[in-house]
Amino acid sequence: MSVATEEKRDLTAAALSHRGDRVFNRIITGCAFTALVVLAGITVFLGFQAFPVLQDQGISFVTTTAWDSFGTPPVYGIAGMLWGSLLLSVIALVIAVPVSLLLSIFLVFLAPKPVSKIFTNLIDLMAAIPSVIIGLWALYILQPTSVEWATLLNKYLGWIPLFDSNGNFIGSPFTAGIVLAIMMIPIVTSVTREVLGRTPPDLINASEALGCSMWTMLRYVALPYGRGGIVGGIMLGLGRALGETIAVFFVLKLVYDVNWFHILYSGGGSVATLIVAKFGDASGSLEQQVLLAAGFFLFAMTLIVNVIANLIVARTGRVKS
């Protein structure tokens, strides 16, 4: 039997009625929004620089290639750089995705536990190697070898426009793509290995009991189960590749014209590397502003890729049948 008139009081406010608690909460909440403040700050401040540049140069800023600081008016176009970043990323993906997948399959399904543990740590160590060191190694050790391979590719497959040459193989997107792949592999492998490792043992046992070969198990159980996480991991690696500056700086010759697909040509583009390369001797504030505008586009690109990647990885946290 309930009392006829009851005053129901919500207690959520009561929980914070201690004044010190309210202050504490406010401070902590403020700190937690640092991330938002920084992201918004980057968007605003870099966008602030990009907008006048776009106004001044028009949409040709992103659709043409030019770098004429002394002309009247000065003309800038980063189309070559934008496309270059994409091209490098594609090359890197083509190499890194199969290697990472195979590496993950080895670590999760083939290697005995102690071997798997050691190799996993080694691969994670690779992810920790600073890009300046990778760049240094790439300049002195990878480059000669990749030039040799490029020469071979051109010699035997040069009739395909993709492997066409302009006489020199140093500073080609090919080498830069390989370097990016090397930096991508540890990240993609780390995510893929975790995802594959989480395949429910029941499903694997079921396929073993049915007498399936490993390939069948991979194709019908492990890979479909981990599909979302793997794609997410690939995109995370892609995000890193797009933003990679220093390692590419050492092995890519920056050229403003768009290099559409001649990966063995000496000369390519990368927005990130452009910024670092030109900032030292940017003549005048307009050129500086242009580089800041380029930075804005880079930020936008990587932000979009990362957000999509995290959405995909987060969504596959829920179990799919």
Partner: protein
Amino acid sequence: MSTAEFEEIATTTEAMDAAVSATAEQRATEMEAKDVSIWFGQRKVLEGVNIAFPKRTTTALIGPSGCGKSTFIRTLNRLHELIPGAALAGQVLYEGEDIYDAKVDPVHIRLKIGMVFQKPNPFPSMTIRGNVLSGLKLSGLKRSNHDEIVEQTLTAAGLWAEVKDRLHSEAGALSGGQQQRLVIARSLAVQPHVLLMDEPCSALDPGSTLKIEETIRELSKDITIIIVTHNMQQAVRVADYTAFFLAVDGNPGHVVEQGPTTEIFGNPQDQRTLDYVNGRFG
């Protein structure tokens, strides 16, 4: 349990004595719940609870699982409001004042009304001594006689003899029963007037249980104790008063019957009480 069995237990425990002397004297009310109803969001889980808890007595709250006893006890020290969507109707009076009044500081009220939980929860990063004194540290109470407090509370909790030589060792190394007694000492260090206990012995072995019940009976001489328990023999052993909670078919829980323990177990008025104390459900 038959009347004969009950009398056998009752006549050999101090609870009987306490119950007798309680009815003989007029005791002041320490805490009182008046028409308390409790919600989780839209779901009403407890309805119209009216209980008075006299000073320096022990009251047991019994009843089957899920009928709101733990939720009720958490409204007595304002822990219920930590759950999102918590809501309340009615009053909870401590020394005559509603603890839910806007002027009352929940942090302060919890110094007066302490709580011991089902699973012992000493702080793992502190020593035994550190744990006992942690209540003082956490509530900002300044005391100069730390060693005295440590000895007094651990003695009252029945743990002093076992740990007096290792006060600086880790609290996590103690057994479950010892940890629970440590937690009781910790609660006592801030000198509460009321101690709430939510099934404090259900995770412990029988030996520790008896030790803690002994502690409860001793403590009851100085402070008011309200204990939720599933163990009816425990209620008989330690409690002066008992309240029987029941929730049926998804309806909100309520107090079916309450009174001196001897009456509830020996001569219950309601059929459901009779069934419960005789073990016919629960």
